[in-house]
């Protein structure tokens, strides 16, 4: 009985999230557009996560380089180090790690903020003040996440590559010029574009799930905690699932 209910709840929630996404597209394209609020959200979301993204990107780049070296050394292929790290950072690690960090940082804060606005009737108050709360709160946040995540990924990738340069130079000496010639010789648009497109979807999912959980938060203070928590869990999971799908599509299109 218990199991059956869980299964039903899962299907129900999937349906509800799809309907929520549908409402986003329906209401998002109709006026009145909340430009001022959108810009404010873009600033908040980008600014909030920038330090965290930078630090993790730096560490990932460095660690990846340091840890790959022994394996490559065994094959006598140390000179491939910059190229290998660049490919993994650009194609996979950059977007996914940035998205996960943002799911934790942005997803939870959106979930908690909208959740507490729901619980303390601020969303209802907005509605009676002649403001469509879905447009004002949800559409702006989802759009801001979708627009900002790719930018954060680009910043993260850049920092990872710098960190990797440092990592390469911890043992042995490689000039900056040689390093980046090697990196840019390996990377081409078929690496960048799928990763970039994928980041938009990651951003969309983080905004969508955070808003869905917060906007539909249950009454009471534990509802807010639950909204924040499940926003992070569900969006992180969805990021991996999307990544899996993205890899398959890129593969089918021959973008390898």
């Amino acid at each position: 009985m218990f199991k059956k209910n869980r299964y039903k709840d899962f299907l129900k929630e999937t349906g509800e999230i799809s309907a929520f996404a549908g409402r986003f597209f329906k209401e998002g394209f109709k006026p009145r557009y909340e430009f001022a609020e959108l810009i404010r959200q873009c600033f908040i979301i980008g600014y909030q996560s920038l330090p965290l993204v930078c630090v993790t990107a730096f560490i990932m780049g460095l660690v990846l380089t340091v840890q790959s070296r022994p394996t490559l050394e065994e094959f006598g292929a140390e000179s491939y180090l910059p190229a290998m790290v660049a490919i993994s950072v650009i194609r996979e690690i950059g977007p996914v790690i940035t998205a996960l960090i943002c799911a934790g940082k942005i997803g939870s804060s959106i979930g908690a903020e909208l959740g507490s606005m729901r619980v303390t009737e601020q969303i209802d108050a907005m509605e009676v003040s002649g403001t469509n709360p879905f447009k004002y709160l949800v559409v702006t946040r989802i759009l801001a996440c979708t627009l900002m995540l790719p930018l954060l990924v680009i910043v993260g990738d850049t920092i990872s590559l710098y960190a990797s340069y440092i990592g390469v130079n911890l043992k042995g000496v490689v000039s900056w010029h040689l390093y980046y010639t090697q990196v840019f010789d390996t990377i081409d648009f078929s690496d960048l574009i799928p990763a970039f497109i994928k980041s938009y979807f990651f951003g969309f999912v983080i905004g969508l799930i955070g808003c869905y959980k917060g906007y539909n938060s249950k009454k009471g203070t534990e509802g807010v905690g639950l909204a924040a928590n499940s926003a992070v869990v569900v969006s992180s999971l969805l990021i991996f699932i999307l990544d899996l799908i993205a890899v398959q599509i890129a593969d089918l299109m021959g973008l390898t």
Binding site: E113, E121, Q122, A125, M126, S129, G130, T131, N132
Partner: protein, 257 residues
């Protein structure tokens, strides 16, 4: 005007025009039947108190009056318009004329008191110059006696102050109808009495017609011109405070004990 608003006469304020008519209102959530054919009418200028235990559907009732919830069946006519039949634009226009004080005050946490008060002005396309907006904000705050709080954040305010600011934010649009959702719940008796007196003052200065939802008898005694008792999803009894206080009905007695 007399000092104590309680003793002001309501003569000439209340007349027999009906500003809200609720007719056979039904609302249920799943298999939880909350309202089962509720009737009510609000006369122009009067303070109508709706009494009911918590969870009896009082908030549901007034949320139906501003289109925050949609009834399953029945009619909710506010200022001559049937709320469930209105489209979004008509509803927004009507909402300017209705003030709603939420149980939890519902101040926007991320905005200062000033921004909170400006919000309904900006959002209802009421275009005014900066000075006019500032004047309206200060006037609304003065009416609730909290001019000092203008640059504070809601988190710095006490429960009673939040209620007052919530009230100021609602009054800034000079509504014809005020709906108060448990205005005194969670406040100490002294603050409760102040808020109750403020409600009467508002009735007199703005000539508003109000529905006050409560289970606080002290507040009901101060503000009510007429009272309705909501039991089991229907309008169980109507009368003045004194009428109902005399009642021996086992479902009415508990409110007065």
């Amino acid at each position: 005007m007399e000092k104590n608003p309680k003793h002001q006469s309501t003569e000439g304020i209340i007349n027999d025009d009906k500003v809200i008519i609720v007719n056979k209102l039904y609302k249920s959530f799943g298999d939880n039947d909350v309202l089962k054919g509720f009737n009510l009418d609000l006369k122009k200028g009067e303070n109508l108190v709706v009494l009911g235990k918590s969870g009896s559907g009082k908030s549901v009732l007034i949320k139906c009056m501003v289109g925050l919830l949609y009834p399953d069946d029945g009619e909710v006519a506010v200022l001559g318009k049937n709320i469930p039949k209105l489209d979004q634009d008509e509803l927004d226009h009507l909402r300017v004329r209705i003030g709603f004080l939420f149980q939890s005050s519902a101040l926007y946490d991320s905005m200062t008191v000033r921004e909170n008060l400006e919000f309904p002005l900006r959002r209802h396309w009421i275009s005014k110059s900066k000075e006019e907006v500032n004047e309206l904000v200060m006037e609304a705050l003065k009416n609730v006696g909290l001019e000092d709080a203008v640059d504070k954040m809601p988190s710095e305010l006490s429960g009673g102050m939040r209620k007052r600011i919530g009230l100021a934010r609602t009054l800034i649009l000079k509504p014809e109808i005020m709906l108060y959702d448990e205005p005194t719940t969670g406040l100490d008796p002294i603050t409760s009495r102040e808020i109750s007196k403020l409600i009467v003052e508002i009735q007199h200065t703005y000539q508003t017609s109000s529905i006050i939802i409560t289970h606080d008898m002290a507040c009901a005694k101060i503000v009510a011109n007429r009272m309705i008792i909501l039991v089991d999803g229907i309008c169980y009894a109507i009368g003045t405070y004194n009428d109902l206080e005399q009642s021996k009905d086992p479902k009415i007695r508990p409110f007065f004990e």
